[in-house]
């Protein structure tokens, strides 16, 4: 699946396209499919998110969204060395999937 991500213009926070807007939680990301380019162009023009881009991802057996590349997995939760600063998640698997 293709999901969309970027950084919020004002705060810089990592955000994920949830189908109607941008969410802080990777699990909210939806498959943009063939609409990815159109959504990116529209959101770029709206200037709410800095340089949004499409990435490969998958859904695991428990239904969680997993970005394909390690860099985006680190972006999803925050620095692995400062878990106290992590983006909150309902995902009970914690950090196991990030690295």
């Amino acid at each position: 699946m293709k999901i969309l991500t970027g950084n919020d213009l004002r705060s810089g926070a990592v955000v994920w396209w949830n189908g109607s807007g941008w969410s802080l939680f990777v699990d909210d990301a939806v498959d943009a499919g063939d609409d990815a380019e159109e959504i990116l162009a529209r959101e770029e023009a709206a200037r709410r998110v800095n340089v949004p881009y499409a990435i490969d991802a998958s859904i695991d057996a428990a239904g969680h969204v997993r970005p394909a590349h390690i860099k985006d997995r680190v972006r999803a939760l925050g620095p692995t060395v400062r878990r106290d600063l992590a983006v909150p998640t309902a995902d009970k698997t914690g950090w196991d999937w990030v690295i």
Binding site: S11, N50, V51, A68, P79
Partner: protein, 557 residues
């Protein structure tokens, strides 16, 4: 230390308001990211993995207590309560919001600080020996010359759009504690046989994807021609540097491709021309600057102790734990001072298992208080990602250590395998391929737990999370480079680097390792060292004597 005049302050204040307007226009959608990016970078505002990052310049690593307290306030007010001190004597904040950035810059300006020229293809923060003005072995305090270079290079219209970023370093001793020859221009202030002060120019060094040691270009530039010679070096680079290829755009490539002799010939020609034009600031300006760096009023040696007196007095106080606490810290973390009865004291930002270079706002305030109380209101940021109290009475060391120890800032590990330089790596940096910090944490934990840190002695371990080498891995006695291997972290090990006066570049041992493997590999190479060393040999000495083969044999069989 240097204080802004009204002109300096007006420039910085104006820049803050200019940026405030630029940021507002970006947030209102009137600037695209392509338009805004070069503007924010000129003010030190990057966009990293998780957020905007603000890099604040600390000129030649020198700051006072008030400035450190302001850095702490910014960490709490606009960030998440901490900052990261870097290998270029700067501080970085990892969580700054664009909507707050101008306010943070305004707060910095109130204490004569800024983030100007901490990014972009311009002359960056001038770095210097962190012991400047304190070291027993320096010819002269190099900071007035670094400050002169800072003023010359700030907003210099000709050098604002260089082919690539440009880094100066200034030292004034035979010992190199600042990786001087791994800078675009390294300057060593010297005295000639006639007792005149001048500057040696080393040009074309650097780390990154093409590490090079800067060759000596001029052995003695009269000090009243320092800026003219620097300008000549920059002019030749600005004229012929490779703007067509980012990876070949640093001055080291130009010097290498032209050859040091031809580059020098062109610089000398330009230098002769510039001497006729007259670009050197008046000597009175250097004298004015130098007054700010006059030595503090050190107390008479009779009002302090020497180290032997300290040991005998501390031995009688069990709370100081001379053998494994305070005494070890004194042996490891203090440095000889020019004034009798004084030392410089290194404040380690490398607690066992900690994040190299990180300090909380509370820790910054504690350090500021110590500087005010015990070190003539002066602090330094070291390129090793530690802090320094440059001028402390030996008699005050017990009180200082007690405060540091309570704050988790008394790790006795300067220049040991626990004193690891590590870049932010994939935990923070958008350029990184692999994480650096977890390796540093695990290696320091492993050596501390086994008690081998002290046995191994001086061993400089440096870790970079990508080829840009912010973690100085090329210059590590042991270097580790993180790479992306088919989507997973992999680490190349290298041996034999040094950033000191015996400068050398590390060589790769062979195939890379995963995270567990590279940590075991570090242990393996230290085993080889311990088995082969002769009396007094450091790791780097043994490596140079026995070569790479015994280490490769142990690593790969």
């Amino acid at each position: 230390m240097y204080q802004y005049d009204s002109y300096d302050q007006a420039m910085v204040d104006a820049r803050v308001e200019e940026f405030r307007d630029q940021a507002r226009r970006r947030m209102e959608g009137r600037l695209t990211e392509d338009q805004f990016k070069p503007l924010r970078l000129m003010n030190g505002l990057y966009l990293q993995l998780h957020a905007y990052m603000l890099r604040v310049a600390i000129p030649y690593g020198t700051l006072n207590a008030r400035q450190m307290e302001a850095l702490a306030d910014i960490a709490e007010k606009y960030d998440r309560g901490y900052g990261h001190f870097t290998t270029r004597q700067n501080i970085q904040y990892n969580w700054i919001k664009l909507e707050d950035a101008a306010d943070a810059l305004a707060d910095l300006a109130k204490v004569e600080m800024h983030a100007i020229q901490t990014s972009g293809n311009c002359i960056r923060n001038i770095s210097a020996d962190h012991f400047a003005g304190a070291a027993a072995d320096e010819v002269v305090d190099p900071r007035p010359y670094a400050e002169l270079l800072r003023q010359w290079s700030s907003f210099h219209p000709e050098f604002t759009y260089l082919p690539r970023k440009f880094k100066f370093c200034v030292i004034a001793s035979a010992k190199d504690r600042a990786a001087m020859r791994l800078h675009d221009i390294g300057i060593r202030i010297v005295r000639n046989a006639a007792g005149e002060t001048g500057a040696q120019f080393y040009v074309g060094g650097g780390m990154g994807r093409t590490p090079m040691i800067a060759p000596l270009v001029r052995d003695f530039v009269p000090i009243d021609q320092l800026i003219t010679y620097a300008e000549a070096c920059l002019r030749v680079y600005n004229r012929y540097g490779r703007r067509d290829n980012k990876y070949k755009a640093r001055i080291k490539i130009l010097v290498h491709e032209l050859g040091a002799a031809e580059y020098t010939r062109q610089v000398e020609e330009e230098f002769t021309h510039l001497l006729s034009v007259g670009v050197e600031p008046p000597r009175e300006e250097l004298a004015r600057i130098a007054e700010y760096f006059a030595p503090p009023a050190f107390r008479h040696p009779s009002e302090s102790w020497d180290l032997e007196q300290l040991q005998s007095k501390a031995a009688g106080d069990p709370s100081l734990r001379w053998d494994d606490g305070f005494g070890l810290w004194v042996r490891r973390n203090t440095h000889p001072h020019r004034a009798p009865g004084y030392v410089s004291a290194v404040i380690s930002l490398k607690p066992v298992g900690g994040i190299p270079g990180d300090a909380t706002a509370d820790q910054m305030r504690i350090v500021a208080r110590l500087a005010r109380e015990y070190s003539f209101d002066e602090l330094r940021v070291m390129h090793t990602q530690n802090l320094l109290l440059p001028h402390v009475r030996i008699a005050d060391l017990p009180a200082i250590w007690t405060v540091l120890n309570a704050a988790g800032l008394a790790a006795p590990n300067m220049d040991t395998i626990e004193d690891i330089i590590a870049c932010p790596g994939l935990d923070y940096c958008s350029l990184a391929n692999a994480r650096s910090i977890p390796l540093a944490q695990r290696i320091s934990e492993r050596f501390a737990k086994s008690g081998r840190t002290e046995v191994v002695g001086e061993l400089k371990l440096k870790i970079s999370g990508c080829i840009n080498a912010c973690g100085h891995h090329h210059a590590g006695h042991i270097g580790i480079l993180g790479v992306d291997r088919k989507g997973t972290e992999n680490y190349q090990l290298s041996l034999g680097g040094s950033e000191a006066e015996d400068v050398s570049l590390a060589k790769i041992t062979g195939p890379g390792f995963d995270e567990d493997g590279v940590i075991a590999a570090v242990e393996t190479v230290t085993d080889v060292y311990l088995g082969a060393r002769t009396d007094g040999e450091r790791f780097i000495d043994t490596y140079r004597r026995i070569g790479m083969e015994p280490f490769k044999e142990a690593l790969y069989g």
